[in-house]
Amino acid sequence: MLNTYHKTFLSSPGISIWLGSANAHNVPDTVRATGLTLEENDIICCYVSQNDASQLLQNISENKRISLVASEISNFVTYQYKATVIATYTSNREEEIIQEKFMDNFCTTLTNIFPLPKEKIYNMYLRLPSVSIKFKVEKIFEQSPKKDTGGEVFA
């Protein structure tokens, strides 16, 4: 599922990542994520500020289905990863360092494209502590802006 192409894509410095969830009544919710770690067997660990995560965690307790959308901000290449949550927990210091590096890379890429204040964006987006959301990817969909986009990607 997560082949070399997708592992490389998800490790690129300029990707913007968001999580979608829904509660037991199918009310959807969106949160910005502040980094991710790729693990074996199609498992991704994604990080979200604790301040933003209350609805996400409530939704996950009711419905384990989750969606990660990742978009490369320099060229708009976008994929959606549909998954099932395996675990949630408070991020440890090692995972906070991963997020600091991820968001520093992201903000550098962003401010190389747009004349924006890097430090201000970094401080607005990265707010620790965070929670770790670990999930197993089951389907991948291409969502880059082009005609006939949206199809499932088969590795």
Partner: protein, 135 residues
Amino acid sequence: MTIEKNKITEALFPSLQGVMPSVIVTCSKAGIPNASGVSQVYYVDEDHVAISNQFLNKTIKNIAENPLMSVIITCPVNFVMHKLLLSFVESQTSGKTFGTMKLQLDVLASMQGMQDVFCLRSADIYEVLSIEKVN
């Protein structure tokens, strides 16, 4: 300026200019969330926004089953994010809102060199149910 619970005020206008792309999430009847990027969330009036439908196949299917949508908009000046919970009202393929959105989308596409890709299928009108400041 303050933001009323369910009303869009001038404070949110910079976040609705299409400078920062937004992410929308819908959910199917079976409880499977679907996330997608959109070029612009457009201000219609204090109770409604329009979403530019360019590539939203799965989103449209979900909305037919479940009219709710969650979207985060970002202010390009101070990077404050707001989360909106929306409920679908109707799709428009002509009229003032559609015409203005198409014009703005054409400008965005031109700036991004994507004139051949960005085609507005419809301006989808949503009622704003709630607004929450994120950061």
